[in-house]
């Protein structure tokens, strides 16, 4: 993956992440009140931000290339396969992506 592709992919993912409801809630858009200390709250926001950016990188890759396996997503995004599988579990649960057959004995994923 070239530097250009990587930077654009990351920026697009960050833009999509900031549009997501999950990140909007915690970055104060919806002004929610939470009963935890500020440091812990920042850690939670950072973790959600990281997750959302990575998930949108995965979604962006599938949107761009069509059906992809975990290995192919890893090559396109530069993320570790174990991390991709964690996100795929969450994205499947949320009904964003689903399985669509196999290629080289690996599951293919598509957007729903």
């Amino acid at each position: 993956m070239s530097k250009r592709e990587s930077l654009i992919r990351k920026t697009n993912a960050a833009i999509e992440a900031f549009k997501s409801q999950r990140l909007r809630w915690v970055t104060g858009r919806s002004q929610i009140k939470v009963e935890i200390d500020e440091k812990r709250y920042q850690q939670v926001v950072d973790s959600i931000m990281k997750d959302e950016i990575e998930r949108h990188m995965i979604i962006g890759a599938i949107k761009e290339k069509g059906l992809l396996t975990v290995g192919e997503i890893s090559q396109l995004t530069g993320l570790q396969p174990s991390r991709i599988i964690q996100h795929i579990i969450a994205l499947r649960r949320n009904g964003v992506i689903g399985e669509a057959g196999e290629r080289n004995r690996q599951y293919l994923y598509q957007l729903i």
């Binding site: 530097k3 930077l7 970055t27 104060g28 931000m49 950016i53």
Partner: protein
């Protein structure tokens, strides 16, 4: 006559200025004849609270070398807490910018009131100098090398 094209890097700064304070401050800088570099492109918004993080990221993606968000001083917001919302949001914007691999110094949040024309001009001068030292935005470098 062949016109020579300068190779020297000229930064492009996108500024989101709030209508009630910073935009009026920029206007005052102009009417007071304060000199500042022409590297800034001002976008007027009603309040800094209106500036979505995606605006900043899109500006960088489209080739801005730096982004300035300028609003009313804390406590002076026309909409009471728009600038407080932005201040909180800005921390997240900086962290995301750093995470995607862009220097966090390329995004700045400043408070400029309607009477601070001199401060606006000084800020633009200082920021232009800072961005000149940082060099072109990674997006610009990439599109030039392509």
């Amino acid at each position: 006559m062949v016109k020579e094209v300068s190779e020297e890097f000229e930064p492009l700064i996108v500024a989101f200025c709030c209508n009630w304070c910073s935009y009026a401050g920029a206007d005052l800088a102009g009417t007071s004849r304060f000199e500042y570099p022409p590297n800034i492109r001002i976008i007027r918004v009603m309040c800094t609270g209106r500036v979505d993080p995606t605006f900043v990221l899109e500006a960088l993606k489209m080739g801005a070398d730096a982004v300035l968000v300028a609003g009313c001083h804390p406590g002076d917001c026309h909409y009471q807490k728009g600038n407080y919302i932005m201040e909180k949001r800005f921390g997240y914007i900086k962290r995301v910018v750093e995470r995607i691999g862009i220097e966090p110094e390329r995004v700045r949040l400043e408070w400029i009131s309607a009477s601070e024309g001199g401060k606006f001009a000084a800020l633009v001068r200082e920021m232009t100098q800072q961005v000149r030292q940082l060099g072109p935005s990674p997006f610009r470098l990439i599109s030039n090398s392509k």
